[in-house]
């Protein structure tokens, strides 16, 4: 019985933090954010060298074959530096999709590339949590037609994995004729979302309907836990910066950290955030160790981190006073990360509704209702 991170995981965090402070501090991130690509070749190479892209790839495909918790811890640590990278799509969601739905040839082709950081895969699965009007993809005679919204890591990707309905999964080259990629400009410039329009686009299918559907479900779980971990990392960093600033800033001849109203705000943030570490670690642990619990834990981790993350984002901005509101301190980069994570792959109300369905607390017809709008 040992609930917590292993020494190896702690070392991994340390080496990532060192890389972030030396190679990708906020000033570097600011420059990358201007490009709106959510990606930078130098940072990418540095992360590849640290081996983090190989974590979820099995050893037989050249990966490290580690656990999902390792990947979640990486996601959390990257968020501490608001690092622009395609880690979420390429290294967390894509390997999950390939492993559940890919055939041997597809796995042999793609998993080693993922592990070596040689591909960047955008993931279009957001219609699984509810499709907006006009967003729908169909498959006619092997060709894709229609539109996918909110594709994760869209702008930097050279390949896309997209859901067609709930039981078909298609692999598409970014340079395919008939495919148009449009930036969806958002608050978080360290990551990119995009709209893909398909006009008779050739694709490669992955898995039979049952396997594809299982893969998409797993991908959603993986993505949600990773986003929760990301918010955890971002919120912890905001609190850390807030405490540092509050000790230095003086007003009324005393550090503002000595005002009890601010002490209590910080205590509230800490008391809410600290248990989130255990929640996220446990959710990540279930993904491969207790899979029967993973879907529910993913919903709860996603929803709870959205709530606590939002509270920390607002409160720490307030403690900074006018400085929190400016670009000077850069605090808003984490604020926006947390805002992004809250909405993507199901906002808190949506995932809590799914959690209720998973626990059988709502009747069939309600479950059908949600499935109906989710499967469009």
């Amino acid at each position: 019985m040992d609930f917590g991170l292993s020494d190896e995981q702690k070392q991994l965090i340390e080496s990532l933090r060192r890389f972030i402070s030396q190679q990708a501090p906020l000033d570097t991130v600011r420059e990358v954010a201007k490009t709106n690509q959510g990606y930078d070749p130098d940072i990418h190479q540095g992360l590849v060298d640290l081996g983090i892209y190989s974590i979820l790839v099995p050893e037989e495909y050249g990966g490290a074959g580690l656990t999902f918790l390792d990947a979640a811890v990486v996601q959390e640590t990257l968020a501490g530096g608001v690092i622009p990278s395609t880690y979420l799509g390429t290294s967390i969601i894509a390997p999950t999709l390939f492993q559940v739905a890919g055939n041997d040839a597809q796995k042999a082709e793609w998993l080693p590339k993922i592990s070596a950081g040689e591909c960047r895969i955008g993931v279009g699965i957001s219609e699984l949590c509810g499709a907006r009007a006009g967003a729908k993809l169909t498959l006619n005679a092997g060709k894709l037609q229609g539109k996918v919204l909110s594709v994760i890591d869209a702008m930097a990707a050279d390949t896309y994995l997209v859901a067609v309905g709930r039981d078909t999964l298609a692999l598409v080259d970014a340079k395919s004729p008939g495919l148009k990629v449009t930036q969806m400009t958002g608050i978080d410039r360290t990551r990119s979302l995009g709209e893909l329009t398909f006009n008779d686009v050739a694709c490669e299918l992955m898995g039979e309907p049952a396997a594809a559907s299982a893969a998409l479900e797993q991908a959603l779980i993986a993505g949600r836990i990773a986003l929760a971990a990301d918010t955890l990392g971002a919120a912890q960093e905001m609190l850390r910066r807030t405490l540092e600033y509050a000790q230095q800033r003086e007003q009324f001849n005393r550090p503002i950290a000595s005002f009890q109203s601010l002490k209590h705000l910080c205590a509230d943030m800490a008391a809410n955030l600290e248990p989130c570490r255990s929640l996220v670690w446990y959710a990540a642990h279930t993904f491969d160790q207790r899979p029967e619990e993973a879907a529910l834990m993913a919903c709860h981790a996603k929803a709870h981190l959205a709530e606590v993350g939002t509270m920390v984002a607002r409160t720490s901005t307030e403690v900074f006073g006018g400085m929190g509101f400016t670009d000077l301190m850069g605090l808003h980069y984490w604020f926006k990360r947390i805002g992004f994570n809250r909405q993507v792959l199901g906002g808190p109300e949506h995932v809590r509704d799914e959690a209720a369905i998973l626990q059988g607390w709502v009747p069939e017809n309600h479950a059908k209702g949600v499935a109906a709008y989710a499967s469009y």
């Binding site: 019985m1 040992d2 609930f3 917590g4 991170l5 292993s6 918790l69 405490l243 509050a246 000790q247 005393r254 550090p255 950290a257 000595s258 009890q260 601010l262 002490k263 209590h264 910080c266 205590a267 509230d268 800490a270 008391a271 809410n272 600290e274 248990p275 989130c276 570490r277 255990s278 929640l279 670690w281 446990y282 642990h285 160790q289 834990m297 709860h300 929803a303 709870h304 709530e307 109300e349 809590r352 509704d353 959690a355 209720a356 607390w361 709502v362 009747p363 309600h366």
Partner: protein, 405 residues
């Protein structure tokens, strides 16, 4: 992350589950906050001590089971008893605060005299800390004693003294060294409640029950050897006791149990024939609380792991009382809203839900205040976990009472 329990604990867990299946019907349900434990309580307590399910680590020579401390075994016991909804023995000021304090800092004679009867439930204790002018600022307490003929002569007043109306004994903080600085002048005494000069007046709480009291002390004579630790060491001894008190409040298992009752309630109660669980707004509130409970449950496992390794859990431990008591209060509040108009019913009124949610909702506020209030918990977290500056200290008279200039 390794969540498996070693093999021997699986057998232990099974043994506990079997015991509970066979004996749950013997477990008492009467509230020990209002009355002395009845015979059913005493029998249950005796059975649990015999099995080692309560007073587990109290040494045999003091009437306990005498097991080595074993955090996993303790946690299995708490888990299984709470899952079964069965009391794991008397959990009062005597068993959960005084006994561990005496075992840690009491004399051999004190342990022999007080521990056996206390763990059996025969000696009931009250905790005499708070005073009208010494609440959060406990060390400013004024009840005092002078020494005459080998006796302390005690004068003063205690307040909020739970169980004093039926207690046999009180562990009480008294200023014995009037010239020493405020934290160094206090002694921790053990005093019978039937001495001449003790006047106990029940205080009715907002729940309508008189669970606590005012205790007036006028020239009460107590032999000087009835002291734990040395004269003037009372503050350290009191903090040993407080450590055990804080460890108890806000346990997420209580929240989990309440949550399960709330789920049943929302599935069973109907309005216009529709279960309340189908109300999307109430259901969302329920799920928000479930997320918090899960976070606190896994935080508890993390704290347990730290304890196992002999490490200080730090912030993860400090936040339990703050978050846990609030969470319980919120759960009761949601149950009341779920019940709608019937949610206001009280005192076994017809149609009142057996969950007794209003009483819980109110009593929880007491738990948020007592044992170190919510605000004091936040001060502690800010100062000790986050390293923020300490509260300024003021001398008496720095602020005129009643506002003014």
């Amino acid at each position: 992350m390794d969540l498996s329990y070693p093999e021997k604990y699986k057998a232990f867990r099974q043994e506990v589950i079997d015991f509970l299946k066979q004996n749950a019907n013997l477990a008492p349900t009467a509230d020990f906050r209002l009355h002395r434990p009845d015979q059913k309580w005493l029998d249950w307590q005796a059975l649990l001590i015999e099995k080692g399910y309560t007073a587990r680590t109290v040494p045999k020579q003091y009437g306990g089971y005498g097991a080595e401390p074993d955090i996993l075994a303790e946690s299995i016991l708490t888990e299984e008893f709470s899952r079964a909804g069965v009391s794991q023995g008397l959990d009062n000021q005597g068993t959960s605060m005084l006994v561990p304090t005496l075992l840690e800092v009491g004399t051999e004679a004190q342990r022999q005299q007080w521990v056996p009867g206390t763990i059996r439930g025969e000696i009931i204790w009250a905790q005499g800390y708070s005073e009208p002018s010494a609440g959060s600022d406990l060390a400013s307490l004024k009840t005092h004693a002078r020494v005459e003929d080998g006796h302390f002569i005690i004068n003063g007043q205690k307040i909020w003294t739970s169980s004093a109306q039926f207690a046999d004994m009180i562990f009480i903080l008294v200023r014995t060294e009037p010239d020493a600085p405020k934290h160094k002048g206090i002694s921790y005494l053990l005093m019978p409640m039937d001495l001449p000069g003790i006047d106990i007046r029940p205080l009715v709480t907002m729940t309508g029950d008189a669970t606590f009291n005012e205790v007036f002390l006028t020239d009460v004579k107590l032999p000087v050897d009835q002291i734990v630790g040395k004269r003037g060491d009372g503050w350290q001894v009191a903090n040993v006791t407080l450590k055990y008190e804080r460890g108890k409040l806000g346990n997420p298992r209580e929240a989990q149990q309440r949550f399960e009752r709330l789920v049943d309630l929302m599935q069973q109660e109907t309005i216009n024939g529709t279960p309340l669980m189908e109300n999307a707004v109430l259901r969302d509130r329920l799920l928000r609380l479930q997320g918090r409970i899960l976070a606190m449950t896994y935080n508890g496992q993390r704290v347990l792991s730290s304890d196992l390794k002999g490490e200080n859990p730090g912030l993860a431990g400090m936040l339990i009382k703050l978050n846990g008591t609030w969470l319980n209060h919120e759960l009761a509040g949601l149950a009341i809203d779920v019940l709608g108009e019937l949610g206001i019913l009280y005192d076994n009124s017809p149609y009142e839900n057996e969950g007794d949610w209003q009483r819980k909702y109110m009593f929880d506020l007491g738990l948020m205040i007592g044992g170190g209030s919510t605000q004091i918990q936040k001060n502690i977290i800010a100062e000790r976990a986050l390293g923020m500056p300490k509260e300024p200290k003021y001398a008496p008279g720095d602020f005129p009472i009643g506002g003014g200039n």
